[in-house]
């Protein structure tokens, strides 16, 4: 994870990493601010449904844990953290108020698990489009994510 942090930090300096466009000089504000990053973000295409989901890997390269508390986007009326869970033969989906992102660890948002649910899509999402997403953390930090729309 340390390596990912380093790679991400250097990528950030080049402006290539998928995360908040914080200027490098801002790192003086504290290393923890630069440590959260999102990788491989994608949204499922939806052309007539009002719903879809966004998936990504959320990495915390710092030694301080943080907690994801919410998401927002201009692509939909609502964005929320959700978790799909199978209990016996039945599938459930529950809203998640807060999702811890432990220090030097990462959390996977993936199909059949944690995802950001987009409700009330304001436009159809087609293969190749981009969905902007803002992730909010309990620390006050936010991450700007651009998720590519895919037909998986």
């Amino acid at each position: 994870m340390r390596k990912i942090f380093v790679a991400c930090a250097s990528a950030l300096a080049l402006g290539a990493c998928e995360r908040a466009p914080e200027p490098a000089a801002d790192s003086a504000a504290g290393p923890a601010r630069a440590a959260l990053s999102v990788h491989e973000a994608w949204a499922r295409a939806a052309d007539s449904g009002a719903m879809t989901a966004v998936y990504f890997t959320l990495a915390n390269g710092s030694a301080v844990s943080d907690t994801l508390t919410g998401a927002s986007t201009d692509a939909a009326d609502e964005a929320g953290l959700h978790m799909s869970m199978q209990q016996g033969n039945t599938m459930h989906m529950a809203a998640v108020r807060a999702l811890p992102v432990p220090a030097e660890d990462s959390v996977l948002f993936r199909p059949l698990g944690a995802h950001v649910m987009l409700m009330g899509l304001r436009r159809p999402l087609a293969d190749g489009d981009t969905v902007p997403l803002t992730l909010r953390f309990v620390s006050g930090q936010t991450l700007e994510v651009r998720a590519g729309v895919r037909v998986p």
Binding site: R44, A46, G49, A50, M51, S84, N89, L112, H115
Partner: protein, 192 residues
């Protein structure tokens, strides 16, 4: 041992291996006749109607979900798309049917459009409240709203598996979520 007997042994071995090859889905044993399933839909739109008995002779994939489902249902539909693609250009002999268990929000037209967005051949139907009550009982499956059904934001608990009915109308497989489309296709090839 002659080459001929070696060949024979190899063929026998491969046939045995074939017969014993495990399914990717969960095989029902015994494979009993599938419970009845009949959705009247609307008279105006034939795409909103489906009766399982009419599909005899074809393999039928059934999924009980809802269109406001952002993760599990579209993931399963995408796996179906991959399975259909993996089966190749001959698409005959397999039907793909999405059955809504959320009649409050899913009109027959909405379910039909929802299924069609994944593949034009996919059928999507919405039962009436009475049809839903009957099918939950006969299929021995659970589906119920979670959260406040007076808002638009409730979710629906629903069966996790894809049900596969064979050409003779028997319930043969339950495919758990997460099985790759290519593996679903492998099972369907054996049933088609």
């Amino acid at each position: 041992m002659s080459i001929r007997s070696l060949l024979v042994a190899a063929v026998v071995a491969s046939l045995t291996a074939c017969a014993e090859r495990p399914w990717h889905g969960v095989a029902m044993d015994p494979a009993n006749p599938a419970p009845p399933l009949s959705i009247a839909g609307t008279l105006a739109e034939p795409a909103t109607r489906f009766t399982l008995a009419d599909a005899k002779g074809d393999v039928v994939l059934l999924y009980f979900g809802y269109t406001h489902c952002p993760d599990v249902c579209p993931t399963t539909m995408s796996d179906w798309v991959r399975a259909k693609r993996a089966l190749g250009p001959d698409t005959s002999g397999v039907r793909y049917v999405f059955v809504s268990v959320d009649p409050q929000r899913d009109t027959p037209e909405l379910s039909a459009a929802y299924a069609r967005q994944f593949d034009k051949a996919f059928v999507g139907v919405s039962p009436t409240d009475d049809e839903l009550g009957l099918l939950l009982k006969e299929w021995a499956i659970a589906a119920y709203p979670e959260g406040d059904p007076r808002t638009n934001a409730y979710t629906v608990a629903h069966p996790a598996h894809t049900f596969v009915v064979d050409r003779d109308g028997r319930l043969r497989l339950m495919i758990p979520p997460g099985v790759r489309g290519e593996d679903i296709a492998e099972d369907l090839r054996r049933l088609r």
